[in-house]
């Protein structure tokens, strides 16, 4: 059985993602090696922390190019999580210096902006369990019952998609929060499936069994 590559680019706590992949019965490999990523059956791009730092880490390790060539061009299934999802956008205003946003991978026609809920009682970050509404079907949501679509979020910035078809699921937090996006062989979640108990494990399992 070939492995599942979890991209290592110097960010915190991939342990849970690794354990979750193992729990689903697959072989996780935390790696930054282009060959190992190229040989993987599936690739996971996790992410916690700041957008600018993350993009710098990816670029300095040449991983942006590796993901472009070995994953996007080859049609290899990729699951991007949390900050990983945001990196797929064209830009993010997080910690933007002099108002100039950081550039992302640009795989989706989308931008990342600060969450600004219209209710002053809503705290930032958006942290905790929230319900995701399905905007369209996707294989990663197979078999997850409507009453079980709550997932664990922790973020202060959210993705805004210009292409409505890219949006698979949204949550409500005083504004719509893009929660699941997908295009071709790429799917991404703003929430953490590896922290979302059964629903998260099912989603992850669905991804690992997905062959687009």
């Amino acid at each position: 059985m070939s492995h599942v590559a979890i991209v290592d680019y110097g960010i915190n706590n991939v342990r849970s993602v690794r354990n979750a992949v193992d729990y689903c019965g697959f072989e996780p490999l935390i790696t930054g090696d282009p060959a190992a990523i190229g040989d993987a059956s599936h690739v996971i791009l996790p992410g916690v922390g700041a957008f600018g730092d993350a993009m710098n880490n990816l670029r300095s390790r040449g991983l942006d190019g590796v993901l472009e060539q070995k994953v996007r061009e080859k049609g290899k299934p990729l699951l991007a999580i949390c900050l990983g999802m945001q990196l797929l956008a064209r830009s993010s205003e997080e910690h933007a210096e002099d108002g100039v946003p950081h550039k992302g991978l640009g795989w989706l026609d989308a931008d990342v902006q600060r969450i600004r809920p219209n209710d002053p009682d809503l705290k930032i970050p958006h942290m905790g369990w929230n319900t995701v509404t399905k905007e369209r079907e996707h294989p990663v949501l197979a078999g997850i019952r409507p009453g079980n679509l709550a997932f664990y979020f922790v973020h202060s910035f959210a993705m805004h998609c210009n292409e409505a078809g890219d949006v698979v699921g949204t949550a409500d937090y005083g504004q719509p929060i893009t929660s699941i996006v997908a295009r071709d062989n790429v799917v991404a979640t703003q929430f953490h499936p590896e922290k979302s108990q059964d629903s998260g494990i099912e989603l992850l399992g669905n991804f690992l069994r997905w062959n687009p």
Partner: protein, 258 residues
């Protein structure tokens, strides 16, 4: 909408799960932390708080082992704390599997530490934990060092100052009510919750399903519960279904899946 959270609180002493009343009285063994965490995970609690109440180098090793083992089969957020004094402590706990790290005594001694840790690891990774006790009919003080040392600090004021230090959330615990199962300190919740810009987790005193409702309706974002789950037949499943039936916004999974 974002759900209110139901959070079991674990106290570890030398790596063993224990429970007291008012922090020091009536010590009872509370089980095995890893299997108990698994049980709570299967019940569908929202996250877990694990605190090392007599921190040392040896107990830290045990806590790390415990978190690592929990992370193997439990997939929900963990907040871990006890003796966190430096960025290396935060990093070690995050590496072991914690999602958030709780800082208590050191936040009082050196508030800058909270700001520093939030900057390095992200606001959402840092929870400030505050223990307090009544010192007169109308005043309470913050107590640090596992409830042993009294500080001339009002807990409500301190909580409001902490959010300026960029912590992700606040865990506010009444020592007087700890383990009594007589209800949360609703006066304190009422005086703090509305003014805080970060989520408030309240701790100390939950003994019935109604206590949890009262605390959440007073404005707490989450309730931490220990004795009620350990020593009564009110399980997290009962709590969730009771709260959901009464219209509170909690996760209420359908069937067996959480």
């Amino acid at each position: 909408m974002l759900k209110k959270r139901l959070i079991p609180k674990f106290l570890l002493r030398d790596g063993r799960l224990v429970k007291y009343v008012r922090f020091f009285e009536n010590e009872r063994m509370a089980g095995n932390p890893v299997t108990t965490a698994k049980v709570y995970n299967d019940y569908g609690v929202d996250e877990l708080i694990v605190l090392d109440i007599v921190p040392s180098a040896a107990s830290r090793t045990r806590v790390i082992e415990t978190i690592e083992r929990m992370s193997e089969e439990i997939f929900m957020p963990f907040t871990v704390g006890g003796g966190v004094r430096a960025p290396e402590d935060v990093a070690a706990l995050l590496r072991a599997g914690a999602d958030k790290v709780s800082v208590n005594s050191e936040a009082v001694r050196r508030p800058e530490f909270v700001r520093e840790a939030a900057r390095i690891f992200g606001d959402q990774c840092i929870t400030v934990s505050i223990d307090y006790k009544k010192v007169s009919a109308r005043h309470s003080n913050v107590f640090i060092d596992g409830g042993r040392e009294r500080m001339p600090l009002d807990p409500a004021e301190w909580a409001l100052r902490c959010q300026d230090l960029h912590c992700g959330e606040i865990l506010l615990g009444s020592i007087d009510r700890d383990g009594t199962m007589d209800g949360y300190d609703l006066d304190m919740i009422n005086s703090v919750a509305g003014k805080l810009g970060v989520p408030l987790i309240v701790s100390g005193g939950c003994g019935s399903l109604q206590h949890a409702i009262d605390a959440l309706e007073a404005g707490a974002s989450a309730v931490a519960i220990s004795s009620m789950f350990l020593f009564t037949d009110h399980s997290p499943i009962k709590l969730r279904s009771h709260l959901a039936s009464r219209g509170l916004n909690v996760r209420a999974g359908a069937g067996s899946r959480n």
